[in-house]
């Protein structure tokens, strides 16, 4: 087990705790950068899809995992980002302008739902965002002059300074760059006072308020930032599927996004990435398994959502900390080897007092 001796306060908030972290993350980045040399086009496409999912999951993690606000409507933000970006590009805007613009518009939409719902928390917020997502989906269907309604909206390949990224590997690098930028941005945000305020709000709103945190401001900020990141993911998602239809952004996608956060591990950026890998790879695994299953099971149309549901239930019952939590436990087990205590990660259960006054 490695002990880190802290000799200055700065070390508390370092991005990398020690040299080992730096080495492994560098290696991971190198491996990801080398992926186009090793993988064929199909798997590269799947990998970029996972990267896009990871961006969206990071955005949602900021809201759910760090600020404690549950959103069941993030597919709407993904959709807004995708449609905004596609519309601007179809109007002849270059990608480098339309991409951040799509993010900003999504952030505005995030404020639109975030500000009126400031007073809500928990379940009410979840329901409000759900309703918001339904309304946005209807807007996608009805606002035909912009979204093309059910006919759909084709998305052109992104062009950067007049150079169009037609190839899969070019698009893959674009996603990778955005993901690394987003993760670094969020990781940095989380060690700043703003990020600390988010976490304080998550842990106890009243205590946070007593410490002088402006709840309304920080909650709205969390919503806007989360929507911004999800909007960026949406823009890339649009390029990836290259043809937008309103039903791509329904409640199912919202739930898959939330599933990534839960399965990956609520409250950690690692978790967002693990969750994205999980949700992105599962359909492929199912597709491969399909060949080995009896046709009575493999031909059922609802197999994938059912599996998602089962996995979700299992994770919540048996591993509420998600994949990342499990990894931490295994790591600690070997670090402490004969001395590992089972209760280390035990969560305290609380008796429930009602939210109602009388």
């Amino acid at each position: 087990m490695r002990f880190v001796f802290k000799t200055s306060y700065e070390q508390d908030i370092n991005l990398f705790r020690h040299g080992g972290d730096r080495f492994w993350y560098g290696l991971l980045l190198l491996a990801l950068a080398a992926a186009p040399l090793l993988l064929d086009t199909f798997y590269l496409g799947e990998l970029s899809f996972i990267l896009i999912y990871a961006i969206a999951a990071t955005g949602l993690m900021l809201l759910v995992g760090y600020t404690g606000l549950v959103s069941l409507g993030h597919a709407a933000f993904l959709g807004i980002g995708a449609y905004a970006n596609a519309y601007f590009i179809s109007q002849g805007m270059p990608f480098l302008v339309s991409f951040p613009l799509a993010g900003l518009i999504t952030a505005a939409a995030g404020l639109l739902i975030g500000v009126p719902t400031l007073r809500m928390s928990g379940i009410y917020l979840a329901i409000a965002t759900l309703a918001f997502a339904y309304i946005v989906e209807q807007v996608f269907i009805r606002w035909e002059s912009v979204t093309g309604g059910f006919r759909g909206l084709p998305v052109d390949a992104p062009d950067i300074f007049g150079y169009q990224l037609w190839e899969r590997w070019e698009f893959y690098y674009l996603c990778l760059v955005v993901l690394v930028a987003v993760i670094l941005g969020v990781a940095n945000l989380l060690r700043s006072p703003t990020g600390r305020a988010f976490v304080a709000i998550r842990d106890s709103e009243i205590s946070a308020q007593s410490m002088g945190i402006n709840l309304a401001r920080y909650k709205a900020m969390a919503f806007a930032l989360s929507a911004f990141i999800t909007g960026l993911a949406g823009a890339l998602y649009g390029h990836h599927i290259s043809y937008l239809a309103p039903d791509a952004f329904d409640i199912r996608l919202s739930i898959i996004l939330l599933l990534m956060v839960v399965v990956g591990g609520v409250g950690s950026l690692h978790g967002a990435v693990y969750g994205a890998i999980f949700a992105g790879a599962l359909p492929q695994v199912i597709a491969i398994l399909r060949d080995y299953l009896p046709p009575a099971i493999s031909q059922t149309p609802g197999l994938e959502p059912a599996l998602f549901g089962v996995i979700l239930v299992f994770f919540i019952l048996f591993e509420p900390f998600g994949i990342y939590g499990r990894w931490l436990k295994i790591k600690l087990y070997f670090q402490m080897f004969p001395l590992y205590k089972k209760a280390t990660f035990k969560r305290q259960k609380s008796y429930l007092k009602t939210e109602r006054l009388r």
Partner: protein, 282 residues
């Protein structure tokens, strides 16, 4: 009339939400899917086994109640005392499983079964009313009266209210809180089954009818999520608003009216019409 009948169904599903929320402070996102399952079970009993309608209804309600009890005892009991978020995700996952299971067992084609009310009309003073609508309204009113009396006058009902207000205190008073919770789930699943069966003559049964449950949220929130009369009233309001919006509003407003109403209520009066929510203490 149509709006009121549909509103009653929303109200009944919302009632299921409210029952569970009132008692266990969990929100059951699978309520709509429980309703769907209830309708399918009734279909099997009535069309499949050839039981008479009323027997089939009673059977389906009992089966669903047992199912609800087991659901809570097996799946939800371990997460008591964990954050609400976990429970929300759990029930969402459950909804996915139920939907897929129903699709697997009964197929994805819409089904319907014969009821005593199908296709008949009553002529009341020049106003023609379909009996299926009347049955829905009458059934809802009856069920509510029963539930109201149950919560008000029976020991079990009072015990349910007590455990909803303070688990610890209820536990000290000798109430078997865990078992009470399971019973509430049973009750709620039974109500959902009734809603599904009443709805069956109006809509066709298919595995995706559970999405109706999300509109019932609007009803429950409108009524203030902790109040049984509120849920029913909320359901009626949503049903009527939806019909009016569908007739007079621009295209698409039929689908969005319920959600717009929901957002408006949440923003303007987050506690609903019958507010019961206060600020949570540390």
């Amino acid at each position: 009339m149509n709006g009121i009948a549909v509103g009653c169904i929303y109200g009944l599903i919302a009632l299921g939400f409210v029952l569970i929320y009132k008692a266990t402070e969990m929100v059951n996102f699978a309520q709509g899917d429980l309703m769907m399952l209830g309708a399918f079970v009734a279909y099997t009993l009535i069309s499949g086994l050839g039981l008479p309608y009323w027997l089939g209804l009673a059977g389906a309600v009992i089966i669903m109640a047992v199912f609800g009890y087991l659901l809570d005892a097996v799946l939800l009991r371990p997460v008591i005392g964990q954050p609400q978020f976990a429970i929300v995700m759990l029930t969402i996952g459950l909804g996915f499983i139920l939907r897929a299971a129903a699709g697997f067992i009964w197929g994805h084609d819409p089904l319907s079964f014969e009821t005593p009310f199908t296709g008949k009309v009553v002529n009341a003073g020049g106003v023609v009313i379909a009996t299926e609508n009347l049955a829905i309204i009458f059934g809802t009113v009856l069920l509510c009266a029963i539930l109201y009396a149950f919560f008000r006058f029976t020991r079990l009902g009072v015990a349910m209210q007590a455990s909803s207000q303070n688990q610890l205190a209820a536990y000290y008073m000798g109430i078997p809180v865990k078992r009470i919770f399971s019973m509430i789930w049973a009750l709620s699943a039974g109500v959902a089954a009734v809603a599904g069966i009443l709805l069956a003559p109006k809509f066709l049964i298919d595995p995706n009818m559970g999405f109706l449950g999300i509109k019932a949220f609007a009803a429950a929130v409108l009524g203030g999520f902790g109040s049984i009369p509120g849920a029913l009233l909320g359901g009626l309001v949503i049903g009527v608003i939806e019909q009016i919006a569908g007739v007079y509003g621009p295209p698409g407003s039929h689908e969005t009216a319920a959600y717009l109403a929901l957002l408006l209520v949440l923003v303007l009066k987050p506690g609903g019409i019958f507010a019961q929510i206060g600020r949570k203490k540390v």
